[in-house]
Amino acid sequence: MSFRHRLKAILFPLSLLSWVLLLLSTLSNTQGNAAGWLGGPWPTWVTLLAQALFAASVFVYQRGRTEPLIGNDFVGMMRRLVLGPGMLATACVGLHLIERVLQYELPTNDRTLFAVIYTINLGLFVVFLANTNYSWRSLVLFRASSRIQREWVWFEVLLGSTLLFRLLDWVPPHPIDYIIMGSLGTFGVYLSGNQQWVAYLSRRQKWEAVLLQIAILLSMAVFVSYFLRIEHDPKLVAPAPQHAFLLLTVFFGAFYAFMGLMVTLFNLPTAGVFEQKREEILSLQRLTQLIQRGQSENEVYGMLFDSAVQTVDADAAWIMLENEAGVREGQSYQVSPEQSAAVRNLLQEHNLHHIEYLNNDLKASSGFRELNLPYGSLIVMPLRSAKRRYGALYMLKQARQGFDRENLSILQTFASQTVLSIENLNLMNVSLENQRVQEELKIASIVQDSLIPKNLPIDSWFDISSYAASAKEVGGDFYDFLHLPGRRLAILIGDVSGKGVTAAFHVAQMKGIFHALMQENPLAKSERDKFPVPSRFMSQANHALARCLEKSAFITASLYIIDYENGGFVFARAGHCHTLYYHSIKEEVSYFQTAGLGLGIIRNESYEKHIKNQFYDYNPGDVMVIYTDGIVEARNAAQQEYGEERLHQMLERTYYLDADEIKQQILEDLGQFSHGQPMHDDQTLLVVKFKSAQPGLNN
């Protein structure tokens, strides 16, 4: 246990013991039974020493107690101070009265009771003073610099030693005693100047503090008047220095309470302004915090409105909100819709409703007088950014000259804060919306991906490899396969003009049309007519698309029906890229040059005239390369197109490979050609290689 802890532990018993000693010593000086019992009058120094011990231990004990000030709760601390010591003062008065009544009822010469009560009151008073003193201390040291804190310790030591010396009846000779007392008093005044805590009180709290300080002074006065009253009582046996000590301590305690009271009182008239500024700062803070929380627009306007009304202390107010849909009245305060509309109409007549407007003498305006409203001052604060108007705030006060420059500037700050936060909110909503669209595009992309056939047809007669890539999330290219009865395979490839979601819709539509039209027709007369030939398919597809494709949109497509039982195929090209073909018999690569109009260009029956079927008997080893324009129109850094010629050359170099290898080689060449260039269009590439192996017939 450290010395401090040990000291703390013995202080309380020491104060009790010294008080008992003081009591006994006082009693020994009374000429009564007790005195006789105690062995006659004890010397005066015992009394004084006991009192010195008692006072010192109580003060040091109070000093070591926990800080009475909790946070910024000054008023709470004073309330506790009034309650505790106030009760002590009441007890003091009560005891004194009891003694008087007893003295009156049972007159006696025995001064024992009087002395006991005097000693009790003295104890109570010392406790009171110690308590008060240390409460003031926490006020003086509130937010004080370390210098002030050191000075306060010195003040305590000096004051304590001075008082205790006084108690020991040692008075320095004149004029040294005056000098000592004078300089101590000056020091006290200097320290009492530290009343920073007053600034932290609201107007109401200041009033409360004033009343509490008066109450404390009053309870002090109760004690003082008691001691002054009995000072000349003949029954008093206490030595004079004891009294002088008490009065001197009272002086310092009361001094600080009085200073605090004065400072608080002088602060009262400015409390309102002070509080208003404080409220303005708090409102600004609240508004600023809203931005970070990113709440809804309505909440931000609500916050602006409440803060504005509170800050400028308006008697009536409303807010107008503007958006694409029009102007509407938002929140209002102590004003009816008719009244606000009347004021607005009047301002509108003078074209004042969209600008910052302050009128501090409404009664002077004849237009306003006619409205017969009880208001003298008006502020209109528009809410606007460089880009658009968000509305306006209207504030009214009954008094003339009700608004000042500060009101106007704080409202300006509020307005710009609000507009800023609204714009932030909007930006956030836009980015959220973008994010949502992105998400949906991702889903669309997944859906579209599921439309692309994953399992390529496999047969010993041919070998197929495919590649498809979209420039955007969703694309306009498509291809599909369908097995038809009689060892036939239908292959569809195509490209919807335009890109993005619209194109993607038409892709899905084409796929639907493909599967719907390539159904077996049970009414067909011959086997050949059971499925539409490619040209027939194109006419029907053109008809189906005519009504739903937008005017400037069109679709290119090629449909191939390969009959691998008979070793031939038939195809029709509706404006789609030419088919590149390797003829193994002739050992030659060429494009099938056929005419054919894109779908959706002519939307009537005459379309049939523009589409032809092309028949071809293939040979084993033949290679068919089917693609979309994204392949041949891919560009290099010099903005040249990949072109049909380059594709032609690639097939000449690779025709002997597998379909998959041919595809890989073409894509590699394409990749090298357009290296570093963005992909402008969707790319689709199908390679079909006809094979000689036909296990069924080889045997």
Partner: protein, 109 residues
């Protein structure tokens, strides 16, 4: 893309300069959609400096084709570069639209 126009008594000549892509086709569409365009007997499109035509550009001509036919306005393309002509041809538009080699032939048409 730059579109310049020259109007004589009964002929409107539009000269296309640059690439006709998705964004520039909007300009062309605005030109062709003007009501006064349909008052001419002939609309000639000079394609000498047309380097590239996208599907959106083709879409503009396609969307106005029917209107021109209904109003009896002849739409004639001339001086077309090979690669642009190839695009028209692949799509089958050469069968629907009049494409001639020179301005003289276009005027005579």
């Amino acid at each position: 893309m730059k579109i310049t126009q020259h109007a004589s008594a009964n002929t409107l000549t539009l000269t296309l300069d640059g690439e006709l892509d998705a964004s520039s086709s909007v300009l062309l569409d605005a030109e062709l959609a003007k009501p006064e365009t349909l008052k001419f007997e002939k609309v000639l499109i000079d394609c000498q400096r047309l380097n590239y035509i996208s599907s959106a550009g083709l879409g503009v001509f396609i969307s106005h084709l029917q209107q021109f036919q209904d109003a009896g306005v002849k739409l004639v393309f001339f001086n077309m570069q090979d690669k642009v002509h190839n695009v028209f041809e692949i799509l089958g538009l050469d069968a629907l639209m009049t494409i001639v080699p020179s301005e003289a032939e276009a005027t005579a048409f």
